[in-house]
């Protein structure tokens, strides 16, 4: 863990301690389980986003993708009677294709990531709404899928399975990003795509792969979200989730210019954001202030991190200067 990650972890613990002191129910197993369930859902999303951000890109369409893919998933298994494993795979493939399309437009046709995914945001939301004719996709009463429900919304020894899924994905993605050649290329491309190409890296493919990973993880998250809410009104489902994912990554030390950040960081960022949401509800803060609290903490977090770095550098220099008074003495 880098210094940055440790600072973030500290912030999470301090906030947690304060909340627990005010309302001890914060530490109830049921509350921790509820919160870690959401950490699982948003964490999967944020890891996907992280892969794109590291290339210097951005994926704004995840909220809309979650709505569209969620609607399709529920429609497939609840209305069309498709076997859920088939639907599951199909949705992941669809997510991958969406990612591939974005990656292709960005890497091959050289469109700006912000533009491509902004269009995705608009288009998928519209398609999802059109698909249900602005209605809601949901399960009929009594419609149950025990295995699927256990895997997505169930708990094992009180730990939500979605959280366990996040841990597994995190471990895999950590190796991919921090130990594999592919990960190294991602960092290189994020810093300087042109130079990476001159180093013989097939940058186009790598960038597309990053968007595909993001698409597949988003699709997975879409299924988890669908099984969590069990109902999707496509006009509002997943609204602003891209901002949560981006905020988690940025809090976790990613730079939107690309080439920086770690898997541990993005997970810690997700945890902090969910902790904040939980806090607002537990401490009885007016929910109108929910957004403000979130914004305020992100800002303070980023600011402290930045200022702390600057402060440390300064202190180090001052100390170094003091360490050799002899030179100083020669001055006159």
């Amino acid at each position: 863990m880098s210094k940055k990650d440790i600072g973030l972890l500290l912030l999470i613990l301090v906030v947690g301690a304060v909340v627990a002191a005010i309302n001890p129910r914060f530490l109830l197993p049921i509350n921790l389980a509820n919160t870690s369930n959401l950490i699982g859902l948003f964490g999967i999303l944020s890891i996907g986003q992280a892969f794109v951000i590291i290339t210097g890109g951005i994926e704004l369409s995840v909220g809309s993708s979650i709505a569209l893919l969620g609607v399709l998933f529920i429609d497939f298994i609840a209305t069309r009677g498709m076997d859920w494993p088939v639907a599951f795979i199909l949705i992941l493939i669809l997510g991958g294709l969406i990612g591939l399309a974005h990656g292709w437009l960005i890497a091959r046709l050289k469109l700006q990531p912000f533009v491509v995914t902004l269009c995705g945001l608009l288009i998928y939301r519209g398609v999802a709404r059109f698909y249900t004719a602005d209605g809601t996709a949901g399960f009929a009463f009594g419609q149950n899928f025990p295995t699927l429900e256990f895997l997505t919304a169930g708990r094992t020894y009180g730990v939500p399975n979605s959280f366990i899924a996040l841990i597994v994905i995190m471990a895999i993605m950590w190796v991919v990003l921090h130990r594999s050649v592919f990960g190294r290329y991602l960092y290189a491309i994020g810093k300087n795509e042109e130079a990476a190409r001159f180093s013989g890296i097939r940058t186009g493919r790598i960038i597309m792969a990053a968007y595909v990973i993001c698409g597949v993880l988003t699709a997975l998250a879409a299924i988890y979200f669908a099984m969590y809410t069990r109902s999707i009104s496509p006009a509002s489902h997943g609204n602003f989730y891209e901002l949560y994912a981006i905020a988690a990554a940025v809090l976790g030390g990613f730079s939107l210019r690309g080439g920086e950040g770690s898997i541990v960081g993005v997970i810690l960022g997700t945890i902090l954001l969910q902790e904040l949401q939980n806090l607002v509800n537990l401490l009885g803060i007016p929910s109108s202030l929910n957004f403000s609290v979130m914004g305020g903490v992100i800002l303070i977090g980023v600011l402290v991190d930045q200022q702390w770095g600057a402060f440390r550098t300064r202190r180090r220099l001052v100390r170094a200067a003091r360490a050799e008074p002899s030179t100083e003495g020669q001055r006159n």
């Binding site: 190796v175 130990r179 594999s180 050649v181 592919f182 190294r184 290329y185 960092y187 290189a188 994020g190 810093k191 300087n192 042109e194 130079a195 990476a196 190409r197 001159f198 180093s199 013989g200 890296i201 080439g259 920086e260 550098t313 220099l317 001052v318 170094a320 200067a321 360490a323 050799e324 030179t327 100083e328 001055r331």
Partner: protein
Amino acid sequence: MLNVPETSSFAGVEAPFLSLSGVRKSYPGVVALDNFSMEVAPGEVIGLVGENGAGKSTLMKILGGVVKPDRGTITVDGIEHDQLSVEGSMNAGIAFVHQELNLFDNLDVAANVFLGREPLRAGPLKLVDRAKLREMVGSLLKRVGANFSADTPVSKLSLAQQQMVEIAKALSINSRLVILDEPTSSLPLPETEKLLAVIKGLKADGISVIFISHRLHEIERVADRVLVLRDGILAGVLPKSAIDHDEMVRLMIGRALKARTAVSMQTPGAVALSAQDIRTTTYPHHPVSLEIRRGEILGLAGLVGSGRTELARVLFGIDARLGGEVYTDGKKLGLHSAADAVANGIFLVPEDRKLEGILLDFPIAQNISLPDMPAHSKRYLVSVRSENKTAEKQRSSLGIRAPSVATRTGSLSGGNQQKVVLAKWLAMNPKIIIMDEPTRGIDIGAKAEIYNLMRVLAEAGVAVLMISSDMEEVIGVSDRVAVMHEGQISGILDKDDLSQENVMLLAVGKKPRLAKREPEGR
């Protein structure tokens, strides 16, 4: 005129490893390379020289697969290609050190050297074998004489150190041809020596080298054959026996160069810039004091990482100083930003022109006018006419080769870009000008012009601080030379004591041999 041969064939008997024939590359408005043919034999060191914008880098980029030629053929091992791709070039065993540095400063040295060719661990996952990587890079670094370790982040390296990483990178490729495009442009003498030794080593191993440099004596020392480019056309080929400094210059610029710059006759005036006890962030415990007088050219020499660039940046207000004060004309300066420096007539020609010197996407005229917008505007509105007038004047006085002053600066050759950086300050009547490697990548003709210019400036009462790693330049141009060693001024040499040997002694922290008296400032 010289008779331009169809193909510059070499004298050896072996089959050429690589040959080009009839290659042409044009950009909008310029033909960068035309009807070019050459052959490269195994183990041959080819020196490639030519003025700025002659087409050297273009030729190399074609070999590296970065640029596609309009026509012509490239034959590698007897197989004819219309063009090479980056991979094709790598697979053919061509390694490349680009003129402009392209390292990833978010990765460490090891990752940079083997980027795209990492040693892998067994298994399907393509995981990097980090131990092996570190070991391989460590030995390469030793070979180029680097004093930093393989896991240093590149963001912590100076420009020259980065240059060494680039060279290590080229050596790391199991190559048959190494292309070095001005690798020494920011290397001081000892490192340059190491590089020349490396080139000889490569030759001994049967690896071919194409070596581009504007420092012709380096070419003289290692080249087996010299190709001279002029305006994109092969102007001449000199076999080993005929390699000669003056002949190269004649072929390059079409005439003999007049004698080196005249030594100053005047006595320097009052102190223009005085830096007292400046402490920088890299060397916080080493206060530096320095005085520059009106009308003198003060050279600043030193080894890689000795802290010269850092000092220049502090004097220009770009970097915060930890202590000390700067005075101009005896007055204390409120120096908090580059804007303050510019407002007080202190200008800096930075070391890294691509990042700091120019806006690649701006037209030449707008780059030149940028620091002096108030003078090119009326009531806050820009006067394009005044901009263009100034730019035209600078273009002709510095000989910037470009279709027009509206040309995108990024499309100029490296040397011409450097001239644009100079032009923007020269247009502003400098009082004190700091030049960090001012002739980096500049051809010999233009170099002479720039030296002349510096002399003209000095004679007009400007104080010039010239940071340079080019020993000839330091000794030939400066009135006095300050030498830095590990963040401190280890000595200042007057004209009488100025010798290559003394500069080197001070640069490594030893005492110089002085003619009359003890060195100052120690």
